[in-house]
């Protein structure tokens, strides 16, 4: 247990950023209020270097966690947004064979000798002069590939909305996120081995049913609940405005807004519950949309919620709260 002191630890305090963060680390602090349980899950994932799978309703702050972690630890953050056509390979590297062919045609010069000193450093830099004789000039690393290439620190990799992808995607991903933590680039014959195992945070909305069991088994699992508590929501508001360095709304307004919002949220019967980000937008509208902030006492009395369009995104929900007036 001697290693406890010098290993990476996430505390949830955005002022704790180290002196010289990595250049790919997020530059803006992330206002993230983290529960002790989630903090533990994050630290466990960092310690075991297993992917952390976050599930929960939209708008609970699953995606934001990765940048909060990366910012606080001063680690680079590579974000990989998964789409329906994404393959696991896309996160590792892309190879532009057509560009190479194009370069052969257009340059019309004798192949330059391979300059090894130029090839291995600064892989991510945009290269102006590609040398067709060097296959390495035509590979471009994806989020995971970049993380594997890092020499002096691990990276935080966010794999966002994994359930959007094809059925095989999680399984393909598994072969990379496991011992021996390496992959091959077939076009150049290179083997990329991770110097530091990346900290992988995966989010899922459970759109398309369950993820495969072998994949789940490898992951740490955490269900992100909506901060359904007056105090926590107020804390989120406070921190949010503190980080943005904006003047927060008057406390009476915040309090009443939180109360109204949670009442709506807990009443049930909503088809799509609004998330934290919707609440913050709504609060901002209450605060600054009109020249004068919305009257807090008025908000408490109002039968009809002001700026409903920020909270309800489905016709049924909209109608439900139009009728209660």
């Amino acid at each position: 247990m001697a290693t406890v002191s010098n290993r990476l630890k996430f505390t949830g305090d955005f002022n704790a950023q180290p002196e010289n963060p990595h250049k790919h680390s997020p530059t803006h602090p992330e206002p993230y209020i983290i529960s002790p349980e989630l903090k533990k899950a994050v630290n466990l994932a960092i310690y075991l270097r297993r992917p952390l799978l976050l599930e929960g309703d939209a708008g609970c702050g699953k995606t934001r966690l990765a940048s909060a972690v990366a910012y606080e630890l001063g680690l680079p953050l590579y974000r990989w947004d998964v789409r329906s056509t994404t393959r696991a390979l896309d996160g590792l590297y892309e190879y532009d064979a057509i560009l190479r062919l194009h370069d052969v045609q257009t340059q019309k010069v004798a192949p330059l000798p391979i300059d090894e000193s130029q090839t291995d450093e600064d892989e991510d830099e945009e290269r102006l002069n590609h040398n067709p004789a060097n296959p390495k000039h035509y590979r471009k690393f994806g989020a995971l590939g970049k993380a594997f290439k890092l020499k002096d620190c691990p990276a935080v990799v966010l794999i966002d909305e994994i359930d959007k992808a094809d059925l095989d995607f999680p399984n393909d991903l598994l072969t990379v996120l496991d011992e021996p933590w390496e992959f091959k680039i077939k076009e150049t014959g290179e083997t990329i081995r991770a110097n530091h195992k990346p900290i992988v945070i995966i989010t899922s909305n459970k759109e398309k049913g369950n993820l495969p069991a072998p994949f789940l088994r490898r992951c740490l699992y955490y269900y992100v609940d909506f901060p359904n508590e007056k105090k926590r929501l107020q804390e989120i508001v406070e921190k949010h405005y503190q980080v943005r360095e904006e003047t927060p709304p008057p406390s009476a307004l915040v309090e009443n807004a939180v109360e109204r919002f949670l009442a709506v949220w807990n009443e049930g019967g909503l088809f799509k519950k609004p998330g934290t980000s919707e609440f913050l937008d709504w609060l901002k509208a209450l605060h600054t949309f009109e020249p004068k902030p919305y009257n807090a006492a008025q908000l408490k009395k109002d039968k009809l919620l002001p700026y409903r369009e920020l909270l309800f995104k489905l016709q049924q929900d909209w109608k439900k709260y139009a009728k209660t007036s």
Binding site: M1, T3, V4, R7, E37, K40, A41, N43, L44, Y47, L48, R50, L53, E55, A97, I98, L101, V104, Q105, L167, G209, N210, P212, A213, L216, R217, R218, C219, L220, Y221, Y222, Y223
Partner: protein, 364 residues
């Protein structure tokens, strides 16, 4: 805290969770041990939290975890230092059977498998309880859902039903062929395209509806939906027809059995490449053995056989229930599989015939 032995507790919890249907492997056990070494399980509470994050992969698993964890001995020791020895011995015997032999003998485990321990903690003395019946905890997951085959695995299985034919529009850029051609010619003329590939497999689904099939409508519906919309089959190449008990001279286009269509007409659209999958319990659900049903099924299968030999039968009843019913006899006439992951995968292997060569030749 001196008596707290996390490693031993992890192994116990691991075995117990696996018995309860958690999908955990040795890797997960090792990960938990590593986590404890890293200081993530100093107290029983912390350890429980750690294991929950590590081993539970859905909110429902997390709720199942708590009673199992509470039934483990360490949680009881600090609260109930003295226990009636008579109480302990009985469940312990039961536990001994379940545990793997390589597990080292540990301090007397006061094993309880029930969840009722919790309420008893408040009582001063332990009352005599009814003997432990394993059925109580055993069936939690089964009660939640009977799901022999998940939608996800249906989609997986359908993928194997394919007959790729490159007859689509000529619009797929073949990078490899382009480069190869260019290097061969020494100069670049034009990119090489190949035709888009399409799945040409034709599937005819015949589904038994109503009656004894009622409990399985959910699965047959999933089967149809996944075949139509989530497989690689082209929707117009999937024909779904319904029947009741036996596919007779006519089958039905809708699942309410109101739009009849002559089986002859259905078969007219079939050739020897058509895959036919029949889903029916074949009398196994009620255990009937009716000569009439067997005869009717036989003649129908004979008719189908004249068109294609790619026929398989999916039976939603488990295999051991076929014995003695008409299903047993029909299973001799046609490859019949029970409707689970393996069964569906086998049935699809049958109806797709032998695997076909891949058509990847670049067109020039």
């Amino acid at each position: 805290m001196s008596s707290f032995n996390p490693q031993d507790l992890i192994t116990r919890a691991f075995i117990r969770l696996r018995q309860s249907g958690f999908q955990l492997g040795v890797g997960e056990l090792l990960a938990a041990r590593q986590a404890v070494e890293g200081g993530f399980g100093e107290t029983p509470e912390e350890l429980a939290e750690t294991l929950k994050i590590l081993w539970c992969h859905s909110p429902s698993e997390q709720t199942q975890f708590d009673p199992i964890w509470e039934s483990l001995p360490v949680n009881l020791n600090p609260k109930l230092p003295e226990k009636n020895p008579g109480q302990e011995s009985k469940p312990e015997k039961h536990q001994q059977q379940e545990e793997k032999p390589q597990e080292k003998p540990s301090p007397p485990p006061s094993q309880e498998t029930g969840t009722e321990i919790k309420s008893e903690l408040e009582l001063a003395s332990l009352p005599i309880r009814a003997p432990f019946t394993p059925a109580e905890t055993e069936d939690i997951s089964t009660l939640q859902a009977y799901y022999p085959i998940s939608r996800r695995s249906m989609i997986y299985s359908w993928r194997y039903l394919r007959r790729p034919v490159g007859d689509g529009p000529l619009n797929v850029l073949d990078v490899d062929a382009t480069i190869e051609q260019t290097t061969r010619q020494g100069f670049y003329l034009a990119p090489v395209y190949r035709r888009q590939e399409r799945n040409n497999a034709h599937l005819l689904l015949l589904l038994d509806q109503n009656g004894s099939m009622n409990p399985f409508h959910r699965f047959t519906r999933d089967l149809v939906e996944t075949a139509l919309y989530e497989s690689s089959l082209q929707p117009e190449k999937v024909d779904v027809f319904y029947f009741h008990n036996v596919p007779a001279a006519s089958v039905y286009k809708d699942l309410y059995l109101t739009e009849p269509i002559a089986l002859q007409r259905v078969l007219a659209a079939c050739d020897n490449q058509t895959s036919i999958l029949i889903v029916s319990d074949a009398g196994a659900a009620r255990g009937y053995r009716e000569l009439k049903r067997i005869q009717a099924t036989t003649s129908c299968l004979f008719k189908l056989n004249q068109y294609t030999s790619l026929i398989a039968w999916l039976n939603p009843m488990p295999e051991e229930r076929w014995i003695g019913s008409s299903a047993e006899i029909i299973a001799n006439l046609v490859p019949m599989y029970q409707m689970d992951n393996n069964g569906l995968s086998n049935a699809i292997d049958i109806v797709r015939g032998q695997p076909l060569q891949h058509l990847h030749s670049p067109l020039s």
